[in-house]
């Protein structure tokens, strides 16, 4: 990134914003991947 951060506050505002978005992506993608991973397993009884 070209932009210089002069304060820790600005740095964290920037990085944390990206991190929160990443967290959302992870929470959506991981279950989808789990479904893919266990797609051919034999079915279990679910609640």
């Amino acid at each position: 990134m070209e932009h210089i951060f002069y304060t820790l506050h600005d740095f964290m505002l920037h990085t944390k914003s990206i991190v929160y978005i990443l967290m959302g992506v992870i929470l959506v993608c991981l279950p989808l991947f789990w479904l893919f991973l266990t797609g051919r397993d034999e079915k279990n009884n679910t609640y």
Binding site: H9, M12, L13, K16, S17, V19, Y20, L27, T46, Y47
Partner: protein, 389 residues
């Protein structure tokens, strides 16, 4: 709330009268709060911006509602199916608990209609309070969805109910993640003010302490509320529920005992790491020991004895004691050991209206809980869905 389908109930009971008075006065205080401002109703000031609406309603409310994620994790993630009958009451308590926390927040913040701002308009991502707000908002949604089968079964909406029940595992996992995050972040909130919180309570491990104590707070609340429910809702409980309840009490109490002892250990480690032993010899130190030994170690021992003797009555006393301990801990950190430096004339004590508002909010919770438990399948399995487990 008034008439039951099967039996005609009296509306004028002592409980209803008291509850009615509390609600009426609560409404008056609400009007005062929004016409005269916080200053007219609370003892908050510039040195003490947070009082018991944060210390009790928010912090204790969230800690004591932890039974939801703990019970559903035990049943669905760890596979301990013998606790299944405890899940719905725990989820109901948690859902109502968090809903009331958000409700209480509307009294405390200056402009409650702006509560969506941090999530939807201007996220201050540098703040732990942002994280708390986001997680509480998401978790309340998860809890609502987890609770909804209860209402859907009551309403007869089978297809929707079945769709949601199939999502149980995902919701449970998501709930544990969100709970870990916000339980710990509530503790982390206070890390910003080392100069204001007494060193025996201030620690780098505040988030860990809050998270671990939320676990045994939840376990204890399930036992405590279970004992109250057995007294007042026994007639609503089906055979499975009654059969499993002894196992729930003994199992949860045993787990709580162990976790509480571990918690005592990591608290001592926290003191050691900051070399704060000398504070134990002060007045504050004595108070700290009252909290840690008197309200964590001792109830943990009681739980242990109860577990060894398989005595559910002792368990229930232990649970009430442990719950008080968690409440004491949250109050210590937010209002008692907070601002410990200030001269006593500048210290905070809640106004009667602040206290009453908290009582009012809890009363509303009890009334809603009573309505839902009496009419919806919380303590029993709805006849249409009994094969589903």
């Amino acid at each position: 709330m008034s008439s039951d389908a099967a039996t005609t109930k009296k509306v004028i009971t002592p409980f209803n009268i008291v509850a009615g008075i509390i609600v009426a006065i609560g409404i008056v205080i609400t009007i005062l709060r929004f016409t005269e401002g916080l200053g007219a109703v609370t003892n908050l000031d510039d040195n003490n911006p947070w009082g018991i609406w944060i210390g009790f309603d928010l912090l204790c409310g969230v800690a004591l509602a932890a039974g939801g994620y703990v019970t559903s994790a035990a049943c669905y993630i760890f596979g301990l199916k013998r606790y299944h009958s405890a899940v719905r009451p725990a989820i109901l308590t948690a859902f109502l608990g968090y809903a009331l926390v958000v409700f209480a927040l509307h009294y405390d913040v200056g402009r409650p209609w702006r509560l969506p701002y941090p999530i939807f308009y201007s996220p201050g991502t540098t703040s732990l309070l942002y994280e708390v707000g986001l997680c509480v908002f998401l978790y309340l949604s998860v809890l609502f969805i987890e609770y909804s089968p209860v209402a859907l079964e009551w309403l007869g909406l089978k297809r929707t109910r079945n769709i949601i029940v199939r999502m149980t595992l995902v919701l449970t996992i998501f709930g544990v993640i969100l709970s870990t995050l916000h339980q710990s972040s509530l503790g982390a909130l206070f890390m910003i003010a080392p100069s204001k919180l007494h060193p025996l309570w201030y620690s780098t491990y505040l988030p860990v302490y809050f998270f671990v104590s939320s676990i045994f707070a939840g376990l204890s609340m399930v036992i405590f509320e279970g004992s109250l429910a057995h007294r007042f809702f026994h007639h609503k409980m089906d055979e499975m529920h009654l059969k499993e309840s002894r196992g729930v009490v003994l199992g949860f109490g045993k787990a709580a005992s162990f976790i509480m002892m571990g918690y005592v250990g990591i608290k001592l480690i926290g003191i050691a790491l900051d070399n704060n032993w000398h504070y134990l010899a002060t007045g504050w130190g004595a108070w700290f020991m009252v909290e840690l030994i008197g309200f964590v170690a001792l109830p943990a021992f009681l739980f242990a004895i109860a577990s060894r003797e398989k005595n559910t009555t002792l368990m229930k006393w232990g649970a009430a004691w442990a719950v008080l301990g968690v409440v004491l801990n949250r109050l210590n950190i937010s209002v008692i050991a907070f601002n410990w430096h200030l001269p006593s004339a500048e210290r905070y004590f809640p106004s009667w209206m602040e206290i009453f508002t908290s009582v009012f909010i809890v009363t509303i919770g009890v009334l809603v809980y009573r309505f839902i438990s009496s009419h919806m399948p919380v303590f029993y399995e709805h006849p249409d869905y009994q094969h589903d487990h």
